[in-house]
């Protein structure tokens, strides 16, 4: 068993009495004052998440764009400098290696941000598809990452920087100083709220956290754990790798058709995904609400007309809606909003109804 890694914020977490858990080999805060409280503060004010465990790869050189165009499913050529893109890598069979973000600094310099649990797998996958004139480096240890999310996030961060945050559009970023430290200020997040992610050097982490709370405490800033991060993303139907998507699911059935650019030219997995598209997807990832009192969890079976027909990939009690919600793969023929499902929870079947997603009306735009 490997020693659990700590992020540079470890002492702050324990200072805030966080409950810590092993997550992808890192000792991470799962909650501080309570999931519902943390969830609500992000929807209403602002919160800060330590997501330093995420992985950062750099792709540089004349062949960088061609390399990423082949490796990932979204259209990298659509990116301009200072823009970020949600994408994924697929296997030849269309299964998902990982979902990720791509940042374009210039036509020959990109950053790819991947899930912590997949850093090693992703890096070796990318390496096996390397092209000439491409330098690929795993710089995950050189970056710490804080996400500041919530309707008041921009107001707080603007107190700490001269970069005009109002001018950074959704899924765009700037390099600049914040709290006197140079960093990448990215208008991205995993909550459905206005928010930013700050990629910075671990040596600046403590000063950055301190500055955020020096200015943010009076605005109600709170640290937010992974548990609320999960309920926040689930209310928006943002996919979580390992739960809703993995190597056995393809992006088309997962509702990620909008990032799957089949007509951009060849890329790994394209042939398989074309076939899926031509044959129509057989199952779809849908959102549902429980009609009875029970909370669905990852792995619960889904029944349609008495037959086992699908599986729950994520489930929780929504702190915003105060009811149980979940995501499930169901047959495409039975995937419309309003249709009923039965979910088997702890040996008993409970009624649920397919609903439109996102579950809540938040907007990060």
């Amino acid at each position: 068993m490997n020693e659990l890694k700590q992020t540079p914020f470890y002492e702050f977490h324990t200072g805030f009495n966080a409950k810590m858990v092993d997550f992808a080999g890192y000792l991470m805060p799962v909650s501080y004052k309570g999931i519902n409280f943390e969830h609500q503060i992000v929807r209403e004010k602002l919160g800060v998440f330590d997501v330093s465990h995420m992985g950062e790869f750099f792709i540089e050189g004349g062949g960088a764009e061609a390399f990423l165009q082949n490796l990932t499913i979204n259209d990298v050529s659509a990116l301009e400098d200072g823009q970020a893109q949600y994408s994924a890598m697929c296997y030849e069979n269309g299964g998902i290696v990982d979902d990720l973000l791509i940042y374009r600094f210039s036509k020959d310099k990109f950053m790819m941000v991947v899930n912590a649990s997949n850093i090693d797998k992703d890096f070796s996958w990318a390496q096996t598809h390397l092209l000439p004139n491409v330098k690929l480096t795993n710089r995950s240890d050189e970056f710490a990452l804080l996400a500041i999310q919530g309707p008041n996030s921009r107001e707080l961060l603007q107190k700490l920087t001269n970069v005009k945050l109002q001018e950074i559009g959704f899924y765009h970023f700037a390099e600049g100083e914040l709290a006197g430290k140079s960093m990448i200020i990215s208008r991205t997040g995993y909550t459905g709220e206005l928010g930013f992610e700050l990629y910075h050097s671990p040596k600046d982490s403590k000063d950055l956290w301190q500055a955020l709370f020096d200015f943010g405490a009076e605005m109600g800033l709170e640290p937010i754990g992974l548990a609320a991060r999960d309920t926040l993303r689930l209310e928006m139907k943002y996919c979580l790798y390992g739960n809703d998507i993995d190597e056995t699911t393809n992006p088309l059935e997962a509702g990620l058709g909008w990032i799957t650019k089949l007509d951009k030219g060849n890329f790994i997995g394209r042939n398989a995904l074309l076939q899926v598209k031509n044959n129509k997807v057989s199952r779809k990832l849908i959102g549902f609400r429980m009609l009875e009192r029970a909370i669905p969890r990852h792995g619960c079976s889904v029944y349609v007309n008495g037959e086992k027909a699908g599986i729950v990939t994520s489930g929780t009690h929504s702190p915003t809606l105060k009811e149980a919600i979940g995501l499930a793969y169901v047959p495409a023929s039975h995937s419309k909003a309003g249709m009923e499902l039965s979910i088997e929870i702890r040996g008993k079947q409970f009624l649920a109804k397919i609903v439109k997603t996102p579950f809540v009306n938040s907007s990060p735009y």
């Binding site: 409950k19 309570g34 999931i35 029970a294 909370i295 009690h317 702190p319 702890r346």
Partner: protein, 125 residues
Amino acid sequence: MNIPAELKYSTDHEWVRVEANVATIGITDFAQGELGDVVFVELPEVGSDADKDEPLGTVEAVKTVADLLAPISGKVIEINEGLNDQPEVVNSDPYGEGWMVKIEISDIDELDSLMDAAAYQEHIG
């Protein structure tokens, strides 16, 4: 960590308050802290039998779920209906408003298998 001295405790983190032949049970402060925000509690029907160490109900939190095990055998004579509307009192007041079930004890000797506060403190480390 709040571990009232006058209560008895099970290894599964239920507490028991004994008054005459009635045991009031709930989950401990430690247990509610581990579970996180409780969003509902499924309790047995009044009149049903409780068998020691067998499931009596479930405690659902946002992230996880746990069985409520009967720390003692007997008959369920009352349940805390207030938890239907306010399950969060399990977090805020686990030994008071957050009580769950009252059981008429069938075998008083079973109480000997439960821990006192000092032993429970040691149990959770």
